[in-house]
Symmetry: C2
Subunit: 100 residues, 2 copies
């Protein structure tokens, strides 16, 4: 993954917020039936509601974050759950500490 693409993914207010929400889902989202925040994350619909932006926009934003390895997804039935990608975030912090 290109470094520029990682920073592009982060250079949008809503996408940054999504990442902060996903860091502590229980603080930002209602309980989910049949899906554990820790295991699978938060479903698109909840993120969309919280963001106030359209469904299509949020779906795209999530895939931008995923392409940047900042989050990853799990499909369960008709739902897609997204959660933080710890490794990707660690890698990013490493880039900043060692290359910039």
């Amino acid at each position: 993954m290109d470094q520029v693409e990682i920073f592009k993914a982060l250079s949008n207010k809503t996408r940054l917020q999504i990442l902060t929400w996903l860091k502590e889902p229980e603080l930002h989202f209602p309980e989910q039936p049949n899906a554990d925040f820790e295991n699978v994350g938060v479903c698109v619909g909840q993120i969309q509601i919280k963001s106030g932006l359209s469904q299509s926009t949020i779906s795209e934003y999530l895939s931008i974050l995923q392409r940047a390895d900042l989050i990853n997804s799990t499909r369960v039935g008709q739902w897609t759950y997204y959660k933080r990608n710890k490794e990707g975030l660690k890698k990013l912090s490493n880039i900043i500490n060692t290359e910039l």
Copy 2:
């Protein structure tokens, strides 16, 4: 400084390169008469030559990086020297480690 603006500053190939160049100036720029890399950094002209982009573009890019607190400048005579801002970079790595 807004977090989004920091990431925007970094979401451009040339600006990222400038930061990596400024991390080890002696590896990327010729010796400068009357100006120490460690003290003041590298002058705009040298950065511009190395980048291959126009003078006006590089001047703007440097001010974008400066507004994001990623570099800072020192004027000496007719030259402006830019160098890395260690504190700003540390703060950024901190944001990633604690907020995202």
